[in-house]
């Protein structure tokens, strides 16, 4: 079985973003970068499938500049993926979800993958569109935000969390699945596996190599602007909880005018 895991490198959620004034482009020079945490669930699920069965090959695929290689090595190859494919092309620098999905689909067509696993969204742009678009482009089944997965002969059963309950979905393979927290507990790369990761194949290609033309963006980011400064916090000094609640209600009504 062949599994592809599509991953993205994102800024660490603890990275401080220097954004004093509105700007068209973020200064990303000081960012610490990590694997998108939801993608880690996808990687872990693929590795678990490999460990449970025989003859499974996992390819980690990403789009990004040279700096993505460290993440691929540490968080994909060192935890059990077999090889990596990096699509590096300046034409993709500001690509939107549709363009990214087009290019990834082209890469995914190179090999007959049975499963494509992705995080259900990336924590930087919070779009959550790429996997669905890929499924559409490749004509594969798609199950989103799965929290459990069981594979059968050419079929799969997945659980998804829905408002107030759980949905159990059966789909045929090949399929695109997006992974949600709760699916598994991603492992840390062990030191010896980090050493071995350096020996696993990592191929770098351009869009031309894949024979795909980058489509024009459908969506463009016009501006990033800092959130409004937070006002001073007001501490209510009251005799007892009841008095404090009364004062809070008064402030919410009269000053903040939210109730």
């Amino acid at each position: 079985m062949k599994i592809a895991v599509c991953v993205k490198q994102v800024p660490d959620s603890e990275t401080r973003i220097n954004l004093a004034a509105p700007t068209a482009e973020l200064d990303s020079s000081g960012f610490t970068r990590i694997l998108n945490p939801y993608d880690a669930y996808a990687v872990e699920e693929a590795v678990k499938i490999k460990e449970a069965g025989s003859d499974v090959e996992i390819t980690a695929i990403t789009i990004g500049p040279d700096t993505v290689k460290e993440t691929l090595k540490k968080d994909c190859l060192a935890v059990g993926c077999d090889k990596a494919l990096v699509i590096t092309d300046p034409a993709l620098d500001h690509a939107d979800a549709a363009a990214i999905a087009t290019v990834l689909s082209a890469a995914l067509k190179k090999e007959p993958y049975d499963l494509v696993l992705c995080g259900f969204k990336a924590i930087d742009d919070d779009n959550g569109q790429v996997p669905i678009l890929i499924a559409e482009k490749l004509g594969m089944a798609h199950v989103s935000t799965i929290t459990s997965l069981e594979l059968g002969e050419g079929t799969l059963t997945a659980h998804r969390e829905i408002e107030g309950g759980k949905e159990i979905v059966q789909a045929s393979m090949p399929a695109v699945l997006t992974c949600q927290k709760g699916l598994n507990e991603p492992r840390l790369p062990s030191l010896p596996n980090i050493m071995k990761a350096g020996m696993k194949p990592m191929e770098t290609v351009t869009c031309a190599d894949l024979g795909v033309e980058v489509p024009a963006n459908l969506v463009q980011i016009k501006q990033y602007s800092p959130p409004p400064a937070r006002g001073e916090c007001k501490l209510i000094d009251a005799e007892d909880p009841a008095a404090a609640a009364r004062e809070l209600a008064r402030l919410l009504n009269e000053e903040a005018k939210v109730i």
């Binding site: 460290e70 090595k73 540490k74 840390l188 790369p189 062990s190 030191l191 010896p192 980090i194 350096g198």
Partner: protein
């Protein structure tokens, strides 16, 4: 001196080192950085959830569980050669792991006892058979080990051990009797590396199975800190140990003990650098949030001064620790890996740098102590309460100045080992000392100082410190001869002067290396810490040297030397408050120790 192409221990005092030749934390490669992330991840994922139970309830058994998790992650195998299931990592990597695991409080000590002192005696002194038997299982954590040198009656004076070993009539076993004390991991270890005197004389190492008849593990000590590490006595009553478990050579146990101490010391240097950083990251965010008199604590000048001093001292410690790692790795890299005695020879290379190992043990453990002390103070009453981690960091830090050779013992060793190398002709120290003495007692030359270049003043200071070292060591050797050993005050002052010199130079070289690679702007943070550290160090050196001189010479000679010392230690002063301000600002912005500009 031999025709070696790489520097030897203590050589920094006699020659100039090029910035490009020092190893710095900026030189860690991708794999090493990934290792560091895994260790951080281990601490977060496995240690943090158990922290409360380990550190505040003193559940020592959890150390064993964590070792069992650490094994498969590869955290126990860095020191073990590849043929025996390890990774055979270089010393810089090993030290980086020690630094990172230090965030796991008590478990850092548990980890060190297993992967360091509990394993290395077999790596360096075991037979191939012993290595096959133990190392692969120590690498995975299947087997847990400990190291027993200390006894109730012999601590610092380890060779005065009273435990005995007697060969049985059939020549197949040794019978061991005695008691060991303060043994880390003893509460659950499977084996112990233990020292006993054969026939009451020949100090020898053994690998002892702790399930053997006659072994009793005493109760856990009630300790001030690292409460989650296991520390117990081991009592041996007619314990039968197969002769095949004798480690190294009969009567050569001190080789094992002293060599392993060197490794313990450089690892402790690294882990206490981690401890200092932990103290900072535990205090800095608080100083931003807490307001008094209407402003955050971190805006008060005295808080900023504390932050700057802790940062600069940590920077000096970190620079010397990893510079030493580089020295060790360069020396070890000259050996042939296929040589069957490679492991044994590599510990010999470490021994060459015993001076540096002792220095970084003392310096970094005291830097960590300063960090714990000042960071706790920054939190005021909250620092004193268990709700915040500094109360624990403050208690935990204390042990680092006691084990792996107390800081007193290590201070005695620093000038002691230098003199020994000088006498053996490995360091042309006495010739250099004579030259400095001539210069100091001759007519002073006056050169009009021009506008100093980038960190040039600090470079001059370091060069002058080296002259001071040579002068005081030379005079002390001349005055006291073999009796210098008894002059502990003089020796300790010399040790401090030597350490200040190594620390100052290491900070300076690291900064120059960074500036050469990335530009002076990128090195601005390091440069400020170097300026502050080197300036203050020179003042301390001046006082120490003045006292050593007064202890060693008198009359006109003393006056001449004191005048020369004044010339060598003269400085204009730096704008301290501005330096403090700038250094502190960077730490406060980062909310952790930072070398960034």
């Amino acid at each position: 001196m031999s025709d070696k192409k790489y520097p030897t221990g203590g050589e920094f005092l006699l020659s100039e080192t090029a910035p490009a030749d020092v190893f710095t934390p900026e030189d860690f490669n991708e794999t090493q950085r990934m290792f560091a992330t895994t260790v951080d991840g281990f601490v977060e994922k496995y240690y943090q959830p158990l922290m409360e139970e380990i550190e505040y309830q003193g559940n020592t058994k959890l150390g064993k569980d964590l070792l069992k998790e650490a094994g498969p992650m590869g955290l126990l195998m860095a020191d073990i050669p590849e043929p025996y299931g390890g990774m055979g990592s270089d010393k810089a990597t090993i030290m980086l792991i020690s630094e990172k695991i230090s965030a796991a409080g008590s478990f850092a000590v548990t980890h060190g006892a297993q992967s360091g002192i509990g394993t290395l005696p077999i790596v360096y002194f075991g037979t191939d058979e012993q290595k096959q038997e133990y190392l692969p299982r120590l690498a995975t954590g299947e087997l847990i080990s400990c190291y027993a040198l200390t006894e109730p009656g012999s601590g610092s004076d380890a060779l005065a051990a009273a435990t005995t070993a007697v060969l049985t009539k059939d020549g197949k076993h040794y019978i061991l009797n005695g008691a060991k004390q303060y043994i880390t991991n003893a509460g659950y270890a499977d084996i112990v590396i233990l020292f006993a005197k054969i026939d009451g004389e020949k100090f020898t190492g053994f690998i002892v199975d702790l399930t053997s008849d006659g072994v009793t593990i005493g109760p856990e000590e009630k300790k001030m800190g690292i409460k989650g590490s296991s520390t117990c006595p081991i009592i041996l009553e007619d314990v039968k140990v197969p002769v095949g478990n004798l480690l190294g050579e009969i009567g050569k146990g001190h080789h094992i003990a002293f060599n392993i101490l060197n490794v313990g010391r450089f690892k402790l240097g690294a882990s206490t650098v981690g401890g200092a950083k932990l103290a900072m990251v535990s205090a800095l965010p608080y100083t931003k949030q807490r307001k008094q008199f209407g402003q955050p604590l971190c805006e008060f000048g005295l808080i900023r001064r504390k932050i700057a001093q802790v940062a600069a001292t940590t920077f000096a410690a970190e620079s010397m620790v990893y510079r030493t790692a580089g020295l060790l790795d360069v020396a070890i890299a000259t050996l042939d890996k296929n040589d069957p005695t490679y492991d044994r020879k590599s510990i010999g290379q470490v021994e060459e740098f015993g001076i540096e190992c002792s220095m970084i043990k003392v310096f970094a453990s005291e830097a960590c102590a300063l960090a714990a002390e000042e960071c706790l103070q920054m939190l005021g009453g909250y620092g004193y309460c268990q709700e915040y981690p500094l109360e624990r960091i403050y208690r935990d830090e204390r042990i680092n100045r006691i084990f792996e050779g107390t800081n007193e013992i290590n201070r005695m060793l620093v000038p002691g080992m230098i003199m020994k190398k000088a006498l053996k002709g490995e360091l042309p120290l006495l010739q250099a000392a004579m030259q400095v003495a001539e210069e100091m007692t001759g007519l002073p030359s006056f050169t009009e100082p021009g506008e100093p270049g980038y960190l040039e003043a600090e470079g001059d200071t370091v060069a002058n410190m080296k002259k001071v070292v040579l002068a005081v060591l030379g005079l002390a050797a001349q005055k006291f001869g073999a009796g210098l050993k008894e002059q502990q005050g003089v020796l300790a002052d010399c040790a401090d002067i030597i350490m200040e010199t190594y620390a100052s130079e290491s900070a300076l070289l690291r900064t120059l290396k960074r500036a050469a690679a990335e530009g002076e702007e990128a090195a601005a943070g390091m440069a400020d810490m170097t300026r502050l550290y080197v300036h203050d160090a020179l003042d301390r050196v001046a006082v120490l040297a003045r006292n050593v001189l007064a202890d060693t010479v008198d009359g006109d000679e003393l006056r001449t030397y004191q005048a020369a010392l004044r010339r060598l230690s003269k400085q204009d002063g730096v704008p301290r408050s501005k330096l403090h301000d700038r250094i502190a600002e960077r730490q406060i912005t980062a909310e952790e120790y930072s070398v960034q500009a």
